[in-house]
């Protein structure tokens, strides 16, 4: 790729969100807004290599998109009856469109971006569509980039985005920011979309390494943007905190041979401490907004306990147990109960942990491979090695994940060295 196309690509990634958002306010439809913005981009790719990058690339793109939006409006109205009133209205609409564009040129309107975020994450669209559309119109990623990140063919991803836009149009989703209770509800969708993007990159075990890393970076960027757009919402700060704290451990998560290194064994000097600081600051914001006992805030607080511990041994497990107690009330899931049992085991000894684990009533948990894995771990610490090995063997058969299998097999091998069965 030539230098100038890389620069155009960079400019596009910087400008596209606000461009689409401003146009969408006028067209009231994301799909059309995105197409018009894309058209402007194509023109820039033709003209800028010859004329040079304009001093204000955002304004240039907005002007180009404005011309196309007026054409689109004109074409749409040509299909209507050629009544004098219609003709006059057409002129008025063009004027309105022109004015709106001019204003959008002069001031960046944050509300438009917020509207765009809520619309792209609308619950009427299937979750995978919301993710793809968000990465496309807010992230400014190309369809091939998104396809590579999720390991699907480009055509599939293109269809997914297309269907998402069509769903929004058919459902007549209004291009606006919700308020009150509706805002809270819709915000949950936005936060879920961002956290899912983050997890896709964070927990990936296959696929192009750099593309997966790009996903966590993108999620972090989206999280930071949301904090600017919704500064009074505690869970927005909390989600950013959680993502910063989790990704701060990235460099320590892989061993020399690319093998996974779990939290207790990580070299903490490789943690990104500036990022930890950012995460803790964001958590404090959430707590100052009285959101300390909410879903993401509690998870972030648990992550912060780990981040503050200089060594694994210094981890404040008692506090983590307390946080899980509250989290269980907010989100009574078996997984949370499982994680709590692990924490109880660390805080009060393996016997207490086993008691907590076996007290979990959710039957579905028994089919989750982490259950025997955790159980085996606790039994091993209690010296009940025969039972422990059986549990680990059961866990190995229950997981398809190769990395998990390797970790469990290694653990089993270590146990068998001391007490073979």
């Amino acid at each position: 790729m030539s230098d100038i196309s890389k620069t155009i690509e960079a400019v596009w990634k910087m400008e596209s969100t606000r461009l689409i958002a401003a146009i969408a306010r006028v067209t009231r439809d994301i799909g059309i807004a995105e197409e018009l913005a894309q058209d402007a981009l194509v023109t820039s790719m033709e003209l800028w290599p010859e004329e040079g990058i304009p001093t204000n690339p955002g304004a240039w793109l907005m002007t180009a998109a404005k011309r196309r939006a007026i054409d689109w409006l004109r074409r749409g109205n040509m299909l209507l009856q050629k009544h004098e009133e219609i003709a006059r209205e057409l002129e008025w609409q063009q004027q309105q469109l022109g004015d709106a564009m001019e204003r959008a040129l002069d001031q960046v309107i944050d509300d438009d971006v917020l509207r765009l975020v809520f619309t792209a994450c609308h619950p009427v669209v299937p979750m995978e569509g919301r993710i793809a559309l968000t990465l496309r119109v807010i992230g400014g990623l190309t369809t091939p980039e998104i396809a590579r990140a999720f390991l699907v063919p480009e055509k599939t991803m293109g269809q997914r985005i297309f269907r998402a836009k069509k769903t929004l149009t058919k459902a007549n989703v209004a291009f606006e920011t919700p308020s009150g209770e509706e805002l809270q509800r819709r915000m949950q969708s936005v936060l879920s979309v961002v956290y899912l993007i983050f997890n896709e990159g964070y927990t990936a075990t296959s696929g192009e390494e750099w593309m997966r890393a790009a996903l966590t970076d993108e999620a972090l960027r989206l999280g930071r943007i949301l904090v600017q757009l919704l500064p009074e919402e505690s869970e927005v700060h909390a989600l950013l905190s959680l993502m910063e704290l989790q990704s701060s451990r990235n460099a320590a998560r892989r061993g020399k041979n690319g093998e996974a290194v779990l939290l207790p064994d990580q070299d903490r000097s490789r943690w990104d401490h500036a990022q930890i600081q950012r995460g803790i600051t964001a958590l404090e914001h959430a707590q100052q907004l009285n959101g300390g006992a909410r879903f993401y805030a509690l998870q972030a607080a648990i992550a912060a306990c780990h981040a503050r511990a200089r060594t694994a041994e210094e981890t404040d497990w008692g506090r983590i147990v307390l946080l899980y107690d509250v989290l269980l009330q907010v989100n009574p899931s078996a997984i949370v109960a499982l994680n709590r049992a692990v924490a109880v085991g660390m805080a009060n000894g393996p016997a207490a942990g086993l008691e907590a684990l076996d007290a979990i009533e959710d039957a579905t948990l028994r089919n989750y491979h982490l259950f025997p894995s955790v159980r085996g771990d606790l039994l091993m610490k209690m010296g009940r090695l025969t039972e422990a090995q059986h549990e680990i063997q059961r866990a190995i058969t229950m997981t398809d994940n190769l990395r998990e299998k390797d970790l469990l097999t290694e653990r089993l091998a270590k146990m068998q060295q001391t007490a073979p069965i």
Binding site: T7, E9, A10, K13, D267
Partner: protein, 135 residues
């Protein structure tokens, strides 16, 4: 990818110890910083007191010399920096182009080294460093 945008302001090499920027300059800078924040790319920023308040420590043949500022022979001095997270070198350059700099001022854009950029023996040497934040 992380980049540092290093500000090399003209005239800072001879600025008085109590030099402060004008209110207008600060306002423009705040606008720019806000733009970086809104785009979700800003990780951190700092301004530095002028070189007249600083000190230089030079090394030569096992000998260490301390010199108090200002440093008349220095043509370029650092005024401050932004740390940003962007998707490419080109994006970092585009952001630098938009910074509110005066005439003949300079921003140098440099990518931050990540540990994974280094060969294994260098990584090994850096292992076990107890970061002050965790002390």
């Amino acid at each position: 990818m992380r980049f540092m945008m290093i500000v090399i302001p003209k005239g800072y090499e001879s600025a008085a110890p109590d030099a402060t920027p004008s209110a207008e300059a600060v306002a423009k800078m705040m606008e720019y910083n806000k733009a970086l924040q809104k785009a979700g790319v800003l990780l951190g920023l700092d301004g530095l007191h002028p070189p007249s308040t600083g000190a230089r420590i030079s090394f030569s043949n096992g000998h260490v010399t301390v010199t108090d500022g200002p440093f008349p022979e220095a043509k370029e001095v650092i005024g401050g920096y932004w740390m940003i997270q962007v998707r490419s070198r080109e994006e970092a350059i585009e952001w630098a182009k938009r910074a509110p700099m005066g005439d003949n001022e300079l921003i140098e854009v440099r990518q931050v080294q990540e540990m994974s950029d280094f060969p294994e023996d260098v990584q090994k040497a850096a292992e076990g460093f107890k970061h002050p934040a965790n002390a």
